[in-house]
Amino acid sequence: MKRRAVLALGLLGIPWRGLAQANAHVSTTDPLVYALTKGKVVNAGRVRLELPKIADTGHSVPMTVRVDSPMTPASHVRGIHLIAERNPMRDMASFQLGSHSARAEVSSNIRLNGSQRVVAIAELSDGTFWSDATFIEVREAACTEDG
């Protein structure tokens, strides 16, 4: 009987781990993230951050963010924020969108100081936050030997 109880606990544990990892790519206590979200939960999903897997140089890397949203006055994306975890300036860019944007999709070319994870956080009109993170290997960093 005891063994069965332990097994049951283990089964219960799985969804808990799932919950804990749902938000694993964004730390809500990070000051930069906190400034955007004011401590709200950042959910994983609905956002797709597209970057190449490998870039020869970090000087100019094509980036596209897409958010799954109907972009109507009732439900749209208010903003998209890009964070590079190992750049000297971690907040790369913010884009303000609205229902008039028609499609929640923005592209640009970014600069990366070496291999790192890039995070995109989207703020929706209902006040929720969603995110995606992509790891990119950069062969030659864009900036600085001396920081």
């Binding site: 100019s60 907040d91 008039h100 944007s101």
Partner: protein, 107 residues
Amino acid sequence: MALSRIQLPAEARRGEAVEVRILVQHPMETGFRRDLEGRRVARNVLHSLACRYNGVEVFRATLSSGIAANPVLRFFFRAEKSGELEFWWLDDDEVEGGAKASLRVIA
């Protein structure tokens, strides 16, 4: 005023998502680089860019040194009637720039 290039279709259907690309010629100087004599090159980043269509703001971007030199931005907007797309931007040297393009909306 910085040179720029806007890519916009000449015409679009009413209510359709119109794709816009803009490239602005700008060094996006990070402030981390040194010149040949070892002096730091002052930061000069095009930090704000806004886009209006017929006077209504449809897109705004806040950029940092994490955006590549000669920044390219691509986004979408919905056009209900013909009009003018107007860009405005500002960099750290307080230099403003702008560009315009027009779009014809067919029914």
